[in-house]
Subunit: 256 residues, 2 copies
């Protein structure tokens, strides 16, 4: 497995935006992601309470870790802007990307169970995250019922998402996996106000392959095939979906 050489910096002290009144003002209540993020569905007054949750911000440069497997768990993170991957590294050197996360999504819940993070979280582009100290999240969850409920929903959806990936890995063939992946990305970009048809992949073919349980060559071939069939147009990491219906049909039409 090609070990990707990337900056090795995980220092928290630097990069942490200090908490000032002004920075807090710009927290959840002012954030245009709040409909996608933790505060979803809360009232104005409740969101005001949440503002105090955010224990600061942190910029994470492309290729840098937000946290590593083995790091003590202290907080979960909301992505304010940017793009991340999470991966697991086995002792024998095998690794797998377990997910890609974008703005408004929550990172770090893998650490709650054991008080230690169980995967690595790496920025795929220069990013910024909101730090939500977990002790405070639990504290406030005990007071604000809607926050408690929403946090539980976020965790549950992560479980359901993982089941979807298991389905994908367990029953789908290569092209179906890639189609499902592209449609999923498209749908998530749409929810953030970006074009459903056109987007930029922030990950390599190898990372896509790792996530989909395929080799990078297979991913590349599937891209080429989709392009030949006029389902998408590919220019490196630029994707344009030409026939979303065709991709969906690929999914439901179980081949053999």
């Amino acid at each position: 497995m090609t070990q990707i050489k990337r900056p090795d910096d995980n220092v928290q002290s630097q990069n942490v935006v200090p908490i000032t009144l002004t920075s807090l003002k710009a927290a959840c209540s002012q954030c245009n992601l709040r409909e996608l993020c933790l505060p979803y569905g809360l009232s104005e007054t409740e969101i005001a309470q949440i503002d105090h949750l955010v224990g600061g911000r942190r910029k994470v440069k492309r290729g840098h870790h937000l946290y590593r497997a083995g790091d003590p768990f202290e907080a979960i993170y909301a992505i304010k802007m940017g793009f991340f991957k999470t991966d697991i590294l086995l002792e024998d050197g095998r690794d797998q990307v377990t997910g890609f996360q974008m703005a408004g999504e929550i990172l770090g819940m893998d650490g709650i169970g054991t008080d230690v993070h169980t995967c690595n979280s790496i920025a795929l582009e220069d990013s910024e995250i909101c730090i939500i100290p977990f002790v405070q999240l639990e504290q406030l969850s005990r007071e604000v019922q809607a926050l408690q409920r929403h946090f539980h929903q976020v965790m549950s959806r992560e479980i359901v998402r993982d089941h979807g990936v298991m389905m994908l890995l367990g029953t789908m063939r290569a092209e179906e996996r890639l189609a499902a992946f592209l449609l999923n990305l498209s749908q998530r970009f749409t929810a953030r106000g970006y074009s459903p048809q056109e987007f930029h992949l922030r990950m390599t073919r190898e990372e896509i392959g790792s996530y989909l349980g395929l080799k990078l060559e297979t991913v590349s071939r599937a891209f080429s095939r989709f392009q030949d069939d006029d389902l998408i147009s590919v220019h490196q990491k630029h994707i344009r979906i030409l026939d979303a219906g065709g991709l969906k049909r690929l999914l439901n039409h179980q081949a053999p």
Copy 2:
């Protein structure tokens, strides 16, 4: 996909053990599974509070559903005795087993996110579960910090477990998957006081295959190979692990 013909009964009214003082007495505080289940790590007085959580018991006969995808979500379930599988059915007929659950484990958290269950839960042997109405669980979680914390840990561990399955499906070959599966079962049986070496599989080869992303024939062949190599002995659903170290070596030794 062979559709397994099984009883179609999902009626809740029958089979629900009514809540009486005596049945409540026998709830968590008296349950020998409490170290594995939700009340783990709570104090005596806290467990006494939890006792009120259990909104009744329910027996689920082998082959019957505890809940189905699409059912409204109202409660999570703790397995008091027995064995379950969860599975997902896609529109095109493909299905996949997403997990096997045994005594002391929690079922139903997939429903929290959308208020609707997203998978089917089916008993693989005559079983009995404790019903934990979710509204009450959240209510009590707001009062009992240790319960809140533990519930979050249970959910997080489910996420981490799913990541492990993704790893297995994405990077391991057939025999590694089966070895990982057997070692995992062995470890869970051990935690419940059963023999680590010898146990009864409650699922068919097809169900194992579905969970591991393999065809039943491949599972059967892997069993035979393990037996030829004196790693295990197999008699139908009876498994005896002869060389746990050998199985573990199979896992870490990435083949190609």
